[in-house]
Amino acid sequence: MSNEPVGVLVIGAGASGAAFAWSIADAGMSVLCLDQGPWMKQRDYPSNGLDWEERGMGDFSTSPNVRGLPADYPVNEEDSDISPLMFNAVGGSTILWAAHFPRLTPKDFRMKSEDGVGEDWPIDYETLEPYFALNDRMMGVSGLEGDPAYPYHEPPLPPLPLGKSGNTLASGFEKLGWHWWPSDSAILSQEYEGREACINLGPCITGCAHGAKASTDITYWPVAQRKGVRVRANCRVREITVREDGMADGVLYYDEVGRLQEQKAEIVVLACNGIGTPRLLLNSKSKRHPDGLANSSGRVGKNLMFHPYAMITGIFEEPLQSRRGPMGCSFWSHEFYQTDRSREFVRGYSFEAIRGLGPVQTALWGMIHGLIPWGEDHHRSFARLYDHTATLLGIAEDLPEETNTVTLDAELTDAHGIPAPKVTYRLSENSRNMLAHAVERAKEALTAAGAVETVVDPLMRAAGWHLMGTARMGRNSTTSVVNERGQAHDVKNLFVVDGSVFVSAGAVNPTSTIQAFALYVADSIKKNIETLFDDA
């Protein structure tokens, strides 16, 4: 293994790192990506076995604290209302995601202008539009063109089938006259670029054994590698090093056998997600950067945003084929997305219609909610629920708050002795009111669709899929970490391309926007390479 200096060093091979690396390879510089996790193999995914649901609670759990694999680092979540979720591998969390693929809406970029809260982004939807489209083609996105909630765009593939559960739920929204639209999904409805169409396995969030669901290890990385980008798996970065002049010099990392190595680079790019990125910046202290790298604003690790989720499940008399098909990708609704001053909250939420649970999850969910007893009545109660449920998720827009943070834990470390992140997060009153509203509206929709009973989880704890805001972008270097091109205000050859840069969260899954931003940053570097390190 050679640690010869490289032009561009990308840390993290997930959604954003892969998109960025693929694009920046065209700049003619050598590109290397380090990831703390391994390459995954589709034959190892749980849906190859009968124990697919059980493994989703074990070695394929979305929680790093549950998995505890060598690639994982622990997260102290004791002071958080929501558990952070992620996966550490080449492909990152796209290995275990649902591939629900909405974009932020144009108004999400103008939160302060529209509603007087938070901040506006320094870029807008129109700036990212070409990158959204490019990313849709790279990932392979299925959807129905013309959703009135968005500017017109055409997904490259037709929408996935709603299935009986989706058709049933959609009929409820129709009766109420509420907006709904088949999800843009990073799952193939037809054969595409050598990958086969979805065959409705169901458990997308434990990895797609068929390869129909996009994860960057099978979308961006093969193409990036053909362009010459190198990926070094099982390598965990400890810190970013800096030169005398304050510019980034490279990284210190532990290789696959645990030896400390040094890798120098002209440009360092962070793509480690909204927890991993601030963790690494805060752990990169030096005489010149005593509070962590790129942190003169004090904003590194601040303004952590999740999407708080409420889960509202309807029980139906008819069987719904509900556990078959892509679990997280049926349709969305933006009916309550925008601010309505008559409500007790600003901003809004979306609904995501998802499919039903497998038999194991049905049994456990029914037990937790007191719906499936032990003993004589067990089978009758199970039969009433299994294949008879459909669920709406209320996805609330979290507002940025400086008290919601990622810091370094004083005691907890990973296997290499690197301080673990500590997440401090409390649900705001605004988010609480929003979720309560979502619960009531979801009950209406489910009832309109024919549900005979509804079951509510008012705040899902294990729902911290979306990690945002902890190295926010902005034009003012005293209130933000990076500029509109993802470039650190303090360190001109350091870039951030993951969800850390988000100024607001919107009320939809962020990956499409994260990847579009990563492509935009790569393009911006390519176009401005001659003046990249000049002072603004």
């Binding site: 076995g49 089938p161 299935g163 065959i199 396995l201 194991v360 039969a383 294949d387």
Partner: protein
């Protein structure tokens, strides 16, 4: 004198206990959890769980002792109704007993091929065959197309 095996590892007792928790269905389509021989897997999982394992083990031991005090053969010799009463009487003092057992029994039971067949599912993993699902309702799709943004 032979030692009495710890309750979690007493196969006859555990078979009877698991058959109480998930009994055979009235129709006979679904076996009892004990009859499927799941107790070693459940016991192993509980013994590896630092949170649920200890309280469940204590609760299981209490059930075994209470059953033996009522019947020379313990739970295995009792009718399901009598056995259920023994368990119910101990739930107030051992509230995690059933929850803890079901945490590991449910996966073991509901991924078993015989159970999958009994609930109407093919006894195979999702991959590689996959599943067919219903197409999007054409009427719904037409309504959406009429609302499309140009």
């Amino acid at each position: 004198m032979m030692d009495t095996p710890a309750a979690l590892n007493d196969l006859d007792f555990m078979k009877a206990l698991l058959d109480l928790v998930i009994p055979p269905s009235a129709s006979g389509d679904l076996p009892g959890a004990g009859a499927l021989g799941l107790s070693p897997a459940v016991a192993e999982a509980l013994q590896a769980d630092p949170l649920l394992g200890p309280p469940v083990e204590v609760g299981v031991q209490a059930v075994q002792e209470a059953a033996l005090s009522q019947h020379a053969e313990g739970l295995a010799g009792m009718t399901p109704e009598a056995g259920a009463k023994v368990v119910e009487a101990l739930l107030a003092t051992h509230p995690l007993l059933i929850v803890g057992i079901l945490r590991y029994l449910s996966p073991a039971y509901y991924q078993h091929a015989r159970v999958l067949e009994g609930i109407g599912e093919p006894p195979r993993p999702p991959f590689p065959e996959g599943f067919d699902i219903e197409a999007t309702d054409a009427e719904l799709l037409e309504k959406l197309r009429a609302r499309r943004r140009a």
